[in-house]
């Protein structure tokens, strides 16, 4: 069925709707695509969490090696990216759940909640890292 459709499209090219590049970037579309990107990134984060558990199950030596990597510059950058992605996906996910329940779909509200998600992500990420460094005795 898919084949007959695509060969039909070749014989009779259908008009295409304008694609991404002709639209002005909007906060609503930006937050939407970012939800997917962060979701994909967080899936990789779950794999990394599994590595952490496997290392802990393997013993102190493996665990210490992984913790050393977590403390390295690349490790910290990765953890920082995952923390941003997590708080964004969490807050924007709540926004999506509200939409699914029928709330906040008016354009001005959608813009306000979009800005709230971005600001909330920044606040929660900074808070998490401040607490984390406090735990490590950095202050």
């Amino acid at each position: 069925m898919a084949e007959s459709q695509s060969s039909g499209a070749k014989r009779h090219p259908r008009p295409l709707s304008p694609h991404l590049q002709v639209y002005k970037p909007q906060l609503t579309s930006f937050t939407s695509i970012l939800h997917r990107f962060t979701g994909i990134g967080l899936s990789a984060g779950v794999l990394y969490l599994l590595c952490w558990l496997l290392a802990a199950a393997h013993g102190a030596e493996s665990f210490d090696r992984l913790q050393d990597f977590n403390g390295s510059v690349i490790g910290r950058l990765l953890l920082f990216a995952w923390s941003v992605a997590f708080f964004y996906h969490l807050l924007n996910g709540i926004r999506h759940l509200a939409w699914d329940a029928g709330f906040g779909f008016e354009l001005p509200t959608a813009y306000k909640s979009g800005y709230a998600v971005i600001i909330g992500t920044a606040i929660l990420t900074v808070a998490a890292w401040v607490i984390g460094y406090f735990q490590m005795g950095a202050f």
């Binding site: 496997l54 802990a56 199950a57 913790q67 403390g71 969490l90 735990q135």
Partner: protein, 131 residues
């Protein structure tokens, strides 16, 4: 489509599996329910990881060995993977158009999800019972 009087299928047969028959929304519903459950669970996990920042093996393995952590972390990973598999499935369906690749990814996604959950639970039990 519905109400085709020439069809040999009954009206009920045509409606089953569609939204109005209150079926066929499992994927959508499962994604939302897992999202709802993950609001407290993922916050607990991230808060716990932050509180364990810089902790050594003894502290972390003791935390991981407690029955509460074992249960809550097992549940969190199970629901997270379920949520991730549903989400990634939609991404594959939307953006991968080549037929063999798409099919292979859609087969591998739930399989690797189950494998991941099993690996995580085995690791958790090993840590808990290692002493």
């Amino acid at each position: 489509m519905a109400g085709n009087s020439n069809s040999l299928r009954s009206r009920l047969g045509q409606a089953r599996g569609l939204g109005s028959a209150h079926e066929g929304v499992h994927h959508w519903w499962g994604q939302r329910m897992s999202a709802l459950a993950l609001i407290p669970l993922s916050l607990w996990l991230v808060a716990s990881l932050v509180c364990n920042a810089g902790a050594d093996y003894a502290v972390v393995s003791q935390w991981l060995s407690s029955p509460f952590t074992l249960g809550a972390l097992g549940l969190t990973i199970l629901i997270t993977v379920y949520h991730a598999v549903l989400g990634l499935q939609v991404v594959v369906e939307d953006y991968i158009h080549g037929q063999p690749t798409k099919l292979i990814l859609l087969i591998l996604l739930p399989m690797s999800g189950v494998a991941l959950v099993v690996a995580a639970i085995v690791s958790l039990l090993m840590i808990a019972f290692a002493g």
